[in-house]
């Protein structure tokens, strides 16, 4: 690696300590365990504070809509007595068009309070738009670092739109070709500017999503008399699942099932220059969803506040074609034209609702804005232009990067369960590997791991024993 890169990575700890606005060392307990709740509470904001900050920033209190036409469609082919009521939280109604405004609003508030002159975030997604918009309102400078192009300088239409909207909000957008070295360049920028690192994975950001779960529980109780039986969350880095679930719990919705959903992109390498433009989803997919669930601390913060396995009751995957079909169906049946990535959970929810009794209530907890480029037609045209076969048929026949198979009938929308046991084992294996060879987990470590995988001490010990034998 270049000397320049090595030099900046060697100073990572020092740069991030200043840029994160928080010292993470105080929460460490052992090579495995840290005090997660203390880290989440360290910013000192109550949920009421967060809601107040967000309302002032034009964020939150989005419409919760019942989808009666989609519900009846599902009931038309569900088994008798089945077909849950379907709802959606229309997060596209936030200022910059997605739930990411909730995340950004708290980071920007902190940056302003602590006197930073600006913020930096590494994201090719809606978070960039959210940070740029909130920074503009707070009169802060903003740099968004994007993995935008392959080596031919060709970019996904969805990412090009994200570059545009960030620049529309006055951000400086740094566009890079494919590669994880984006992180070292972000460090250089943080070092040069002294700005706050508005990480997607900070406690500020994740706390900002808690208001979403809280609103869903409150609004569903007002509408139906009880919190929802199920909430379906599009899952990538884990923040959406974590923040929403924490908010539901804060509102007392402890029996609500939290179901995460991702688009299946298995087989595609996330750091591959050629695979980069052979996928039609830039987020909400298994390429982020699985590695972040099984090792959250791979993030750009010392300890990731987004810990999806802590909160996930089930993990469903759907295909790209199913999500595009559902995106079209939502527009035509419900008058909701929204961006495809955010509809990942909607595709999973249609499959889930079909198998649940009619009195169950399923809330899809977000939508995202749509527009030129960030649209299912644009994505499908781009896929075709990049050699991906697009056809109608049985979506189970699709191969990520090679073919997108669009269902011919809604009955063909069938989400698949990802093996939670596999995710949990993989997480424990990663935690042990990062603790270092020869480290023996203490009882406090076992307790931490059990909480972090939403399980119990006995199961963690069984996983560790099995790993030792392997």
């Amino acid at each position: 690696m270049a000397g320049k890169t090595e030099a900046i990575l060697a100073r990572k700890g020092e740069i991030m300590k200043r840029a994160l606005g928080m010292d993470y060392a105080q929460f460490e307990r052992s090579p495995i365990a840290f005090d997660y709740e203390a880290m989440m509470a360290a910013h000192g904001y109550s949920l009421e504070d967060i809601i107040r900050i967000q309302l002032a920033a034009g964020v939150g209190k989005t419409p919760l809509l019942e989808l009666r036409n989609l519900t009846d469609l599902i009931r038309s082919y569900a088994e008798p007595g089945h077909g849950a009521r379907l709802f959606v939280k229309d997060e596209a109604a936030n200022m910059a068009g997605s739930f990411k405004d909730r995340r950004a609003s708290i980071s920007i508030h902190v940056a302003k309070e602590k006197g930073y002159a600006g913020v930096i975030a590494a994201t090719s997604g809606n978070y960039g738009a959210a940070v740029s918009s909130q920074a503009a309102r707070a009169s802060l400078n903003c740099i968004i670092v994007q993995e935008a192009f392959d080596s031919r300088h060709v970019g996904q239409p969805e990412i090009i739109e994200k570059s545009r909207i960030c620049e529309a909000f006055g951000a400086e957008v740094v566009q890079l070709t494919v590669g994880p070295e984006l992180f070292s360049h972000m460090l250089e920028l943080l070092d040069e500017t002294g700005y706050l690192a508005a990480s997607l994975y900070s406690a500020f950001g994740i706390s900002g999503i808690e208001s979403l779960g809280w609103e869903i529980a409150e609004e569903m109780t007002a509408l139906t008399g009880a919190p929802p039986t199920h909430v379906v969350v599009t899952h990538a880095g884990g923040g959406n699942t974590t923040g929403t679930a924490r908010g539901l719990r804060r509102a007392g919705a402890t029996s609500t099932h939290v179901v995460s959903a991702s688009v299946d992109l298995s087989g595609l390498h996330m750091a591959s220059d050629t695979d980069f433009n052979r996928k039609s989803f830039t987020t909400g997919h298994t390429g982020f969803g699985v590695p972040f669930a099984t090792w959250p601390d791979r993030a750009d913060v010392p300890r990731n506040a987004a810990r999806a396995l802590r909160y996930m009751d089930r993990y469903l995957t759907v295909t790209q074609g199913e999500v595009f079909y559902v995106t079209e169906a939502m527009a035509k049946l419900e008058g909701l034209e929204r961006g495809p990535s955010g509809n990942t959970a909607m595709a999973a929810a249609m499959s889930l609702a079909r198998d649940l009794p009619r009195d169950a209530t399923v809330v899809v907890q977000e939508t995202e804005y749509t527009g030129a480029g960030k649209h299912h037609w644009a994505q499908l045209n781009f896929a075709r232009a990049n050699g991906v076969e697009v056809r109608a048929g049985d979506p189970t026949e699709s191969v990520p990067g090679t073919s997108i198979v669009i269902p011919e009938r809604p009955e063909q929308i069938r989400a698949k369960d990802f093996d939670m046991g596999k995710l949990r084992r993989s997480y424990v294996r990663n935690a042990l590997a990062h603790a270092g060879e020869g480290y023996t987990p203490t009882s406090e470590d076992i307790e931490f791991l059990a909480a972090d995988i939403h399980s119990d001490a006995e199961s963690v010990e069984a996983i560790i024993a099995a790993l030792k034998e392997a």
């Binding site: 270049a2 009846d72 600006g118 400086e172 591959s272 169906a329 035509k332 480029g373």
Partner: protein, 107 residues
């Protein structure tokens, strides 16, 4: 439309530079990525006059100076919706008919 190939000081432009040559890239990259340089594009206000391809320093929206080869003057966005996907054009018609039939049957 003729592309502008020269910028004047103060023009809104884009510059390109190479952050890492292939030999300097991170370990463990897939082969296809490792064979390519890590390139960067940044937009800003030109500090000087230049022709496309010439080295130039720009002042970005945050006031930083960034240097690179001039790629475009007044760069725009040309992403679009494109043609409807034929696999999706009948979805609205068909699903509306199914919902109507279900309701007519007393569902």
């Amino acid at each position: 439309m003729t592309e502008t190939t020269r910028c004047a000081p103060g023009d809104w432009v884009e510059v390109e530079s190479i952050l890492l040559e292939p030999a300097d890239r991170a370990a463990n990259l897939p082969e296809d990525t490792a064979a390519q340089p890590l390139r960067m594009w940044v937009k800003g206000f030109a500090r000087a006059a230049a022709a496309v391809g010439e080295q130039l320093t720009v002042e970005t929206m945050t006031g930083r100076d960034v240097s690179g080869a001039l790629t475009e003057v007044n760069p725009g966005y040309f992403h679009t919706f494109g043609k409807p996907a034929p696999e999706l054009t009948a979805v609205g018609r068909d699903l509306r008919a199914r919902v109507a039939a279900y309701r007519k049957a007393g569902g």
